[in-house]
Assembly symmetry: C2
Homo-oligomer: 198 residues x 2
């Protein structure tokens, strides 16, 4: 019997959060193991212990399912620190980027999605809309506050600055797959502050 | 009959350059179309109009064949300019990186190889040895000359500097697949010179 003090489920139209979570976990694991190209709705449903209809009630297609699930995990990982200084904020943003690209599943998912998006422009657009832009909007708050404090000139090129924040880490860790020295983030933040301030 | 004024072919041990070129072209086209995972020696041989033995006479395996062919194309594209100034040299290096990552075939091949290397650490090692490190060695000459001219401090972090040169372009163009403004390279070189010089 439903507890009358809580909202009672109203049947199939209600999306149970714990099912959504189980599906999201299954999507991430399948993506990391099989890659986007070989990921099937059947395999996700089976891994999550649900029917395929549970997937299609939530997302119209594999593309929306995948990008939505990766977005739900990725966007909150873009930190919006407020340490009071550009240096402190950028250092925290860099730590967040590092955490994102070294996440046990995302570390395999992100390069695969990038390659797939190269082959499928429509996928690239959805990824930019649902992952790239929301993450950049969060990161840009740090630059906006630095402008307000007078630490950055008002005409700072936010797009270029955002590229410089995420790119070196992605290049070093994910593309080159090279070691990251213990002081890499500190040295990178030194260079970034020097490059952006005048 | 062989022309006695030229060195006569000595049979199967001679690797004919025009055959090697035909195979390399076939490898690049197959890589761009099918990706590393689906690329087969059969398809490469068929496209090049040779037997599979012609491939195995040149490379011990698909891995060595692919990385060797991509290396032969990629390493010479890493420019070693000598314009007389750090700014001029970096600007030319950036133009070379842009040419590399927007090459009609490499633009599709590089993200695919990155994703594949994430799944296969041994492939990542061969890519670093045959493509990444030789390209970086060429780029580092620019920094070494800037140190000799007194434009850069002797203790400049060459590894970090090299990351900053290639990373923003790869991130913007290949990962984000975003537009590159006409003045992007100029603005980027301004930031790099400011970041690296003291």
């Amino acid at each position: 019997m439903a507890d009358r003090t809580r909202r009672a489920p109203t049947g199939a139209a209600v999306l149970q959060p714990q099912v959504t979570t189980a599906i999201a976990d299954a999507v991430l694991t399948e993506l990391a193991d099989a890659g986007y190209g070989r990921l099937s709705m059947e395999a996700v449903a089976k891994r999550a212990g649900v029917g395929k209809s549970a997937l299609y009630r939530r997302w119209p297609s594999k593309r929306e399912m995948v990008v939505s699930v990766v977005s739900e995990l990725s966007v909150p990982m873009a930190r919006v620190p407020d340490t009071g200084s550009l240096r402190g904020d950028l250092r925290a943003v860099l730590a967040g980027v590092h955490e994102w690209i070294t996440h046990p599943l995302l570390s395999r998912i992100l390069p695969d999605l990038t390659a797939e998006a190269t082959r499928t422009p429509a996928l690239a657009g959805v990824i930019a809309d649902m992952i790239g832009e929301p993450r950049r909007a969060r990161g840009a708050e740090v630059l906006t506050r630095a402008v307000a404090r007078g630490e950055l000139p008002a005409d700072v090129d936010v797009e270029l600055a955002m590229d410089l924040v995420a790119a070196p880490l992605y290049w070093r860790v994910r593309v080159r797959q090279a070691e990251l020295e213990d002081d890499y983030l500190d040295k990178l933040v030194d260079l970034l502050v020097r490059a952006l301030t005048r």
